[in-house]
């Protein structure tokens, strides 16, 4: 059964009806599911070793190599699956941590207000006034690229934005009388945040999470395009585009294939986020 508040408030609308209520949402769900299937089962379906080099260099797509081979004979499709997997992994991991951090800070700042809020917002303002990609590149160039650094950099550059969004929602919800009633009763502030505020902003949080995944994915591919992401020989989508550029006139698939996967992956989550936002707005 759907979430209780949902049924109670809107009558008999179930989860399925909700998911069908907006075109973007449907598209987003289909694309995301397809992407997930691709990443999880693609390797098994294709059955070729992504790291195995061969003398069939820069071959056009064929029956054996559905998307052709790259400059050292590796199967492009198999590499795509692996590359997509690692990009998605990094993006989702970074998003999860960013959301937890952003929610913790955002709800606390919004709920306690006054000094806590002022300090938090000033820090957020400072972070937001510094160009994020630049920071990412600088730090990665200095310390050296590695997955933990990559994830950390992604988190640091986007968390302030999440804090802002979460705080705005918290302020809206926190003003409602039932929160005041809990305050009067002397309920522990953290319990108030957990029981009253968070559940009532979960729509916003979910939308923000999907937007964040799309963003992290995009940034991760830019960084790996510059050679600062997942290091070779492990495949990464952005780097595949960068590599493929040298050969693109004679073997365009080496660039088109990874690039298209990137676009589709980012678009999947973007549609998902926009769709959820629209569907939630329709519901109220």
């Amino acid at each position: 059964m759907a979430a209780p508040g949902l049924a109670a408030r809107t009558g008999e609308t179930g989860l399925l009806d909700f998911l069908k209520s907006d075109v973007s949402l449907v598209i987003g769900i289909m694309m995301s599911v397809a992407m997930l299937a691709f990443v999880l089962f693609g390797g098994w379906v294709v059955g070729l070793d992504p790291q195995k080099t061969s003398p069939d260099v820069l071959e056009a797509p064929s029956a054996m190599h559905l998307l052709g081979t790259d400059s050292i004979g590796r199967d492009v499709l198999a590499r795509l699956v692996l590359g997509a997997r690692s990009s998605l992994f990094v993006a989702v991991l970074a998003t999860a941590i960013t959301m937890v951090l952003g929610i913790a800070v955002g709800v606390t700042a919004g709920f306690f207000g006054r000094l806590t809020d002022w300090v938090a917002m000033r820090i957020v303002d400072i972070f937001l006034s510094i160009p994020p990609l630049l920071v990412a590149i600088t730090i990665l160039a200095a310390i050296g690229p590695s997955i933990p650094t990559l994830v950390a950099v992604l988190i640091v550059t986007y968390a302030p934005q999440v804090v802002r969004v979460v705080r705005a929602s918290t302020l809206q919800t926190g003003n409602r009388p039932f929160v005041d009633s809990a305050r009067i009763s002397g309920v522990n502030p953290f319990k108030i945040m957990w029981v009253h505020i968070l559940p009532n902003v979960r729509g916003t949080l979910i939308v923000q999470a999907t937007i964040t995944v799309a963003h992290m994915l995009l940034v991760e591919t830019v960084l790996s395009f510059l050679g600062m992401g997942v290091q070779p020989p492990a495949p990464s989508l952005g780097f595949m585009v960068s590599e493929g550029r040298q050969w693109m006139e004679i073997a365009p698939w080496t660039v088109l294939a990874p690039g298209s996967v990137i676009v589709l992956a980012v678009a999947a989550f973007t549609f998902l986020g926009q769709g959820l936002d629209a569907a939630l707005a329709k519901r109220t």
Binding site: S129, P131, T138, L256, G259, T270
Partner: protein, 319 residues
Amino acid sequence: MIRYMLGRLAVLPLSLLVVSILTFSFLHLVPGDPVDALGGENLSADEQAQLRREMGLDQPLPVQFFYWLGHVVQGDLGKSIRTNRPVLDEVLGRLSTSVELAVLSIVMALFIGIVGGAIATRWRGTWVDRAIMAAATLGMSIPNYFAATLFVLAISLYLPDFGVVSYAPLSKGLFANVKSLFFPALSLAILSGATFCRYVRGATEDIIRNADFIRTARSKGASESRILFRHIVPNSLVPLATVAGLQLAYLIGGAVVIESIFALPGLGQLLLAAIAQRDYPIIQGCVLLKATTFVIINLIVDLLYPFLDPRVQLVRGGK
């Protein structure tokens, strides 16, 4: 109002401070001694020691920071390891290219965004509207390096005569300049333009839903287009202005990836080359300049915002 502006201004020195700390500590984040990083192995032991003293490396970090800051404020950002020219000269020399690219791409993006948004609004609710919005979402998902790569590919395959024109600065004429920057700017403009398009459409939707004056105008017999262009679209530009401003702020510091793909002599390319060559003073200079311009332009946008009509609601999706 004044309070708001003062509040914004107060953040400025803090942001600049954080930027300078970031830039400064960069050199110290690199494994190894900064002197080595600066190419010190080529110097004799005496020269190394002297360099160390000059840089104040025997002093505690905060003191070093203020030394460095002092130099920076006077315009001395050190010398490039590769060319031995002052960093400031190198960096400023590249600034105009990046600015030209930034301005051109914002203009294109605004065009795409406003026209797309206006058309979608005109046929709101129909397949045209939905198609444009879907295209915009797709456009937002195209990383600019991929768009750039596609353009280069398309040009080489279908327009070999056009070629990827090498960069022509303004001094050689506006047309030549724009021609050389056309595709780079377009690569950047696709992502921004798509975002702007959604913004405009969202803003027009909010306006249409909430405004009675549209009904009044219609009842007076004004045509759809007239209403659209006279009233709705101009009002929707307000939230767009802030977003566009921010984008401009970001691009002025050099669109790192695009410049490298199209071999444009801008700040971004300088930065990448410096990273590859470990030319740390240049890296510091680029980062400092880019971050500073970003902070300042950001501030200007923030300060201007209340002067634009504050009654216009923020666009959903403009989170």
